[in-house]
């Protein structure tokens, strides 16, 4: 986590960095850099591994509650036998996963079969490096951080392909093909949806993008990107593409359990399966974190009066809120078909994202408009967002719609 020139920050804000510095202060200067980096990596890994454990539980709990059942609530604490509303469930799951037999099909490509989960997890973890978790908490300060994020994320689908192909299972192979098609389709809207942000911010650095969202209109309304017409549209496109990119419902086609058993996971068990599971949640967290950074003001507080809460607290709150939406959507929607999935990307999201780029450009050019012109600015931008959405939406859903039925 980069040493920010931030000694002026309140103690709570500096706490993680101060703790880290305290841990490494006894080392010689030349070694401190390495130790600091390692500590940051360990901290990120521990935090997100814990979050992963809790998220698996939260997802099942939320799904359960949506479906009017309690969700996991039985696993007792080890040796104590006390039930804690299912809090020990991740522990039980972990032990189960670790002790299960690792099965590799006889015809499988053993090397790739082993490499796939490892590569997937590695690439997912790489993406955590450039997300600013707080005012002073950015693991790696990169000039082209946004590009790095998507470059690292692009490789995850390759790992899914490896898994599907190496399993030598027909369902897995279909899943591999689907994963490829999905990646090729959704990488583009994902990237295009963030180009307006880069355009407006004039920077590919995540910390700078967050800094720029740190002002308040009339001292009350936060100037996050999502509160502009183009930002709103961009955020929605980003979110849909992120759902597809992280293979979450309604885009969970590679592992579509009702069609392909478990898709690329069909032939995985035990620890490797757990790695896949972990990578899925890591990917979800990373994409949500990037969404928060780019559109939801990162670690900024929503109103100035609440700025006393440390920035990483705000980041965590926004991240969890986005993750909740991921789960909520999973609890509600059916799954798309592969051709519909690609059609949605190419015929709907990509054109919308391109138009959105123009909207953002207009927004930048008209930034000086004031008074009644400010109203006109909103109107034009709003039309630019809503109009294509309505037109393309109508074309996308042509021939579909509620029906009336006759009675004999």
């Amino acid at each position: 986590m980069s040493a920010h020139p931030a000694n002026a920050l309140p103690l709570l804000e500096r706490l993680p960095v101060a703790l880290r510095d305290a841990c490494t202060s006894w080392l010689p200067e030349s070694w401190r850099w390495l130790a600091n980096s390692l500590l940051s990596i360990v901290a990120i890994f521990v935090v997100f591994a814990t979050l992963f454990a809790l998220l698996t539980l939260a997802e099942r709990k939320i799904l359960g509650r949506v479906q009017n059942r309690p969700g996991p609530n039985r696993a007792p604490l080890p040796f104590l036998g006390i039930r804690t509303y299912g809090l020990a469930q991740p522990l039980a799951d972990g032990i189960k996963m670790l002790t299960k037999e690792d099965i590799v099909p006889r015809g499988a490509d053993r090397v790739l079969h082993f490499l796939a989960p490892v590569a997937l997890l590695a690439f997912s973890i790489l993406t955590f490096a450039v997300i600013p978790y707080g005012r002073a908490l950015l693991p790696v300060e990169l000039d082209a951080a946004v590009l790095y994020f998507f470059a690292a994320g692009a490789a995850t689908e390759l790992a899914i392909f490896m898994a599907g192909w190496a399993s030598r299972n027909k369902y897995s192979l279909l899943a591999a093909m689907r994963a490829l098609a999905q990646l090729i389709s959704y990488e583009l809207p994902l990237l295009l949806s963030i180009v307006p942000v880069v355009l407006v911010a004039g920077s590919l650095s995540t910390s700078e993008i967050v800094e720029q969202q740190g002002t308040w209109l009339f001292g009350v309304f936060p100037q996050w990107h999502v509160f502009t017409p183009w930002g709103f549209a961009g955020f929605l496109i980003f979110f849909v593409a992120a759902l597809a990119e992280s293979n979450r419902s309604p885009f969970d086609l590679p592992e579509a359990e009702s069609e392909l058993i478990a898709g690329h996971l069909t032939e995985y068990s035990g620890f490797k399966y757990a790695l896949f599971f972990m990578a899925e949640y890591f990917g979800m967290c990373a994409l949500s974190g990037m969404g928060v950074t780019l559109f939801l003001g990162g670690w900024q507080a929503p109103i100035p009066a609440l700025a006393f809460i440390p920035s990483y607290g705000w980041f965590a709150a926004k991240l969890l809120a986005l993750l909740f939406v991921f789960m909520w959507i999973r609890a509600t929607f059916p799954r798309l078909r592969i051709d519909q999935l690609t059609r949605l990307a190419w015929k709907f999201l990509v054109p919308l994202a391109l138009v959105n780029l123009f909207t953002a450009a207009f927004w930048v050019l008209s930034s000086g408009w004031a008074g009644p012109l400010a109203f006109a600015r909103w109107l034009v931008a709003g039309t630019l967002v809503l109009g294509p959405f309505l037109v393309l939406g109508r074309r996308l859903s042509a021939g579909l719609g509620p029906r009336t039925y006759r009675y004999a």
Partner: protein
């Protein structure tokens, strides 16, 4: 000369060589992905970080995907992407040609006194890159954009089935 460079260079060339020699097309493609990632690592080592990420995004993220897709679509049959190894009749001339080219190149490189600027690491930021692209190189940027568009449209037209729409299902 840093150890990192040698490691990168070795891994890149080794993966590329193995990929070119393998029978299994899917493995070749995946290994080549690793090789391209090695090239990206070289860019990173050389200080062109934007280029490194672009390389990963384009080669690992896009080209290897398309290659894998093509491999799966044109899979000869059930044998999961295995193709016959290079026949001796082709391998020998290829080796001779490649070896001689390598020999010429190595001889030329080693024999020529190259002037290097002993400057400290430079700072060519993304912002500068953008300014360059939009300033003096704007024309070439437009040309490349047009080329990419035309190429992609052409690719779609070539790869699409003979009669447009005959493979498309009703919904």
């Amino acid at each position: 000369m840093s150890l990192a460079f040698l490691l990168i260079a070795f891994l890149t060339v080794a993966t590329a060589a193995v990929a070119m020699a393998l029978r299994n097309l899917v493995r070749s493609a995946l290994l080549l992905g690793a090789s391209w990632a090695g090239v990206a690592a070289f860019y990173l080592w050389a200080g062109a970080e934007f280029l490194a990420f672009a390389q990963v995004l384009v080669y690992v993220g896009a080209i290897s995907m398309v290659v894998l897709f093509a491999v799966l679509l044109t899979r000869p049959s059930r044998d999961e992407g295995a193709v016959s190894p290079a026949s001796a009749g082709r391998l020998l001339p290829a080796l001779i040609a490649g070896g001689s080219v390598l020999g010429v190149l190595v001889g030329a490189i080693v024999g020529s006194p190259l002037r290097t600027a002993a400057k400290p690491p430079l700072a060519f930021t993304v912002r500068e890159l953008g300014l360059q692209l939009m300033g003096p190189h704007a024309a070439s940027l437009v040309v490349v954009g047009a080329l990419l568009t035309v190429a992609l449209l052409g690719a779609v037209v070539i790869a699409a089935p003979g009669r447009p729409g005959d493979r498309e299902d009703p919904r």
